[in-house]
C-alpha cells in the first residue's frame, strides 16, 4: 500500500468518524506537474488527496493563526519530517491545541525542486511523473520530455535532511525512512560555507544585490508556519515604524531581518519561504546561518523535541555568553 493510499485511508476514517471537521493534505494543481494544498471536508472526497515528491507545501502554515478555525474545529493535517518540526515548534509554545489536531506523518525521501526542472526547459512544464522510484520525468507543453534522477533535482534542503520521519504524529503513512544517526552526526552547513568565506565588503555587496529585487510581498512571512504575529506584524506597522514604506534595499533587508530574528529558535529551515519567494531570493543564507549559530550556541535543533522550549524563551544561569 502506497503512502498516498495510507493518507486517503486515514483521512477517510477520521472524517467518517467525526474525529476531524476537515483534513488538510495535498492535491493536484492545475496540471499533474504541480501539487497544491487541499482542504477535504467529506470522506467521499478523499480521492483527490495525493502524495508524491511534488508535495512541498508545509501545511502547518494553516494551523498557525486563529487556531482552531473556526473556533472549536478539529483539524487533520499531513506533515513531512521538516513540517513536523515546525508543528513541534508551535506545540513547544502551546500555540496549537494537540487535542484538536489529528496529525498524519508522512515519511519523506526528498521533495523535487520544480524550479530546478524549469531551468532545464525553455517551455512550460505541464506534466511531472514518477515512472519508478528515484526517477522524475518532466514533459513540457510542446512535448519535450526529459528524465532525471530524483537525487539530482531535489530541493537543497532535502539533500542534507536529518529528519525524514515526522517527530510528532498520531498516525504514520507507511514505513519509516532510514534516518541518519543524529547522535553521531552534526548538521551539514556546507550550503552557506561559500557565503561565510566572503570578506565583509563582499558579503554586503552580495546581500545588497540579492535584496534589491525583494518586493516585500510578504509571501515569505505568510507562508512561514512559525512567523505567526501575522496580523500585527511589525513590518506592517506604521506607528511605531520600524521598516519604512520607502522602496529600497535598506528597507528590504531590514524587512527580512524582522522575519529572521522573530523566528529565531523556532525556524527549522523547512525552506517554505525560499520556495514561496516570487523573485527567488535565497533566504536560506540567513536562516540557515541563524540555525547554525543556534546549534553552535545551544546544541539546539528547533522543533525537534516536544519537551524542550525554544532557546530564546528560557535561560540558563550557566550560559557562557559575554564578558
Amino acid at each position: 500500500m502506497s503512502r498516498q493510499d495510507h493518507i486517503r485511508e486515514f483521512a477517510a476514517k477520521a472524517l467518517a468518524d467525526g474525529r476531524v471537521d476537515y483534513f488538510i493534505g495535498w492535491k493536484q494543481g492545475h496540471s499533474s506537474s504541480e501539487a497544491i494544498p487541499a482542504f477535504v471536508k467529506e470522506a467521499a472526497a478523499v480521492e483527490e488527496l495525493i502524495w508524491n515528491p511534488l508535495c512541498h507545501h508545509n501545511l502547518v502554515t494553516f494551523l498557525k493563526r486563529n487556531m482552531p478555525d473556526p473556533t472549536g474545529a478539529k483539524i487533520g493535517v499531513c506533515v513531512k519530517g521538516c513540517d513536523s518540526r515546525t508543528l513541534g515548534a508551535l506545540l513547544q509554545e502551546e500555540l496549537v491545541d494537540k487535542d484538536k489536531l489529528y496529525v498524519v506523518g508522512v515519511p519523506c525521501d526528498g521533495i523535487v525542486d520544480r524550479r530546478k526542472l524549469e531551468k532545464e526547459f525553455a517551455d512550460e512544464i505541464v506534466d511531472i511523473a514518477f515512472p519508478e522510484k528515484g526517477k522524475v520525468a518532466a514533459t513540457t507543453r510542446k512535448g519535450d520530455r526529459k528524465e532525471f534522477a530524483q537525487d539530482q533535482v531535489l530541493l537543497e534542503n532535502c539533500t542534507r535532511c536529518r529528519y525524514p520521519n515526522p517527530v510528532y504524529s498520531d498516525d504514520t503513512a507507511g514505513p519509516l525512512e532510514i534516518e541518519p544517526d543524529r547522535g553521531l552526526t552534526a548538521p551539514d552547513w556546507s550550503d552557506i560555507a561559500d557565503y561565510e568565506n566572503l570578506s565583509d565588503d563582499d558579503k554586503q555587496a552580495l546581500l545588497e544585490k540579492i535584496y534589491s529585487t525583494c518586493v516585500r510581498c510578504f509571501a515569505c512571512i505568510n507562508v512561514c508556519p512559525v512567523c505567526f504575529c501575522w496580523d500585527k506584524c511589525v513590518n506592517r506597522s506604521r506607528q511605531p515604524e520600524l521598516v519604512s514604506q520607502k522602496v529600497g534595499t535598506k528597507e528590504n533587508l531590514l524587512f527580512q531581518m524582522v522575519h529572521m530574528f522573530h523566528v529565531a529558535g523556532r525556524c527549522p529551515s523547512c525552506g517554505a519561504c525560499d520556495r514561496a519567494c516570487p523573485v527567488e531570493i535565497p533566504l536560506y543564507l540567513l536562516h540557515r546561518k541563524m540555525n547554525k549559530e543556534i546549534y553552535d550556541m545551544f546544541g539546539f535543533e528547533p522543533g525537534a523535541k516536544l519537551d524542550e522550549k525554544p532557546v530564546f524563551q528560557v535561560f540558563d544561569l550557566k550560559d557562557q555568553f559575554g564578558d
Binding site: 561565510e196 566572503l198 565583509d200 565588503d201 563582499d202 558579503k203 554586503q204 555587496a205 552580495l206 546581500l207 545588497e208 535584496y211 511605531p240 520600524l242 529600497g248 534595499t249 535598506k250 528597507e251 533587508l253 531590514l254 531581518m257 524582522v258 529572521m260 530574528f261 529565531a264 540567513l286 546561518k289 541563524m290 549559530e293 543556534i294 550556541m297 532557546v311 530564546f312 535561560f315 540558563d316 544561569l317 550560559d319 555568553f321 559575554g322 564578558d323
Partner: protein, 170 residues
C-alpha cells in the same frame, strides 16, 4: 523606538575632539556626506546600571569621546536585536549595548534572556557583513564609571579606525 537622549552623552563627555557631533545629526547618512565626518555611535543602555554608570562617569569627569548617543531602555531584556539593525540602517557607524551584570538585573532575569539574544545578534550582524568592531555588547554597573569610560573609549577607537560607514544598505 525609544528616544535618543543626547544630554546624557554630552553631559558625561564635556570636552572631546569630536566636532560636529550635534551638527551631523538628522537622518541617514548615505550620499553626499563627507567621509571624514566624526563617527556616530548609538549606545543602547539599561536604565538601572549602564545608564547610571554613564552618569557616574560624567559626575566623575572621566574624559571620553562624545561620539556616543545613548538610548535608555528599562532593561536589556527590552532590547530587540532589531534596534541595533535599525540604528545601522539609519546610518550609525557602531552600536554599543550595555546593561547590568548577570545576577544584578533590576528585574531579576532580564539580562539572562538578553545575553542569549545579543550573542546571536552579534554573530548574525557579522554574517551580514558588518565588521565585528562595529557592534559590541557588555555589562557595566551603576558604580563602574571608570569601566564605562574604558568601554566607550575602546569601542569608539575601534570604530574610528574603520571610519564612517558610507553608502551601505545596512
Amino acid at each position: 523606538m525609544a528616544e535618543v537622549n543626547n544630554n546624557q552623552a554630552s553631559g558625561a563627555a564635556t570636552q572631546s575632539a569630536a566636532p560636529g557631533a550635534a551638527g551631523a545629526a538628522g537622518g541617514a547618512a548615505t550620499t553626499g556626506a563627507p567621509a571624514d565626518r566624526p563617527v556616530k555611535i548609538i549606545g543602547i543602555v539599561c536604565n538601572w546600571c549602564s545608564y547610571a554608570g554613564a552618569d557616574t562617569a560624567g559626575v566623575g569627569r572621566f574624559k571620553q569621546p562624545a561620539n556616543l548617543r545613548l538610548v535608555r531602555v528599562p532593561c536589556t531584556g527590552r532590547i530587540d536585536p532589531l534596534f541595533a539593525l535599525k540604528a545601522f540602517e539609519k546610518g550609525a557607524d557602531g552600536v554599543l549595548i550595555s546593561g547590568c551584570h548577570p545576577g544584578d538585573c533590576h528585574y531579576s532575569e532580564g539580562n539572562y534572556y538578553a545575553r542569549r539574544k545579543f550573542e546571536l545578534a552579534e554573530r548574525m550582524i557579522h554574517h551580514l557583513g558588518i565588521p565585528k568592531e562595529r557592534f559590541k555588547w557588555t555589562w557595566v554597573s551603576a558604580s563602574e564609571g571608570q569601566r564605562w569610560q574604558k568601554v566607550v573609549t575602546e569601542f569608539v577607537a575601534g570604530v574610528e579606525k574603520l571610519g564612517p560607514r558610507e553608502g551601505r544598505a545596512l
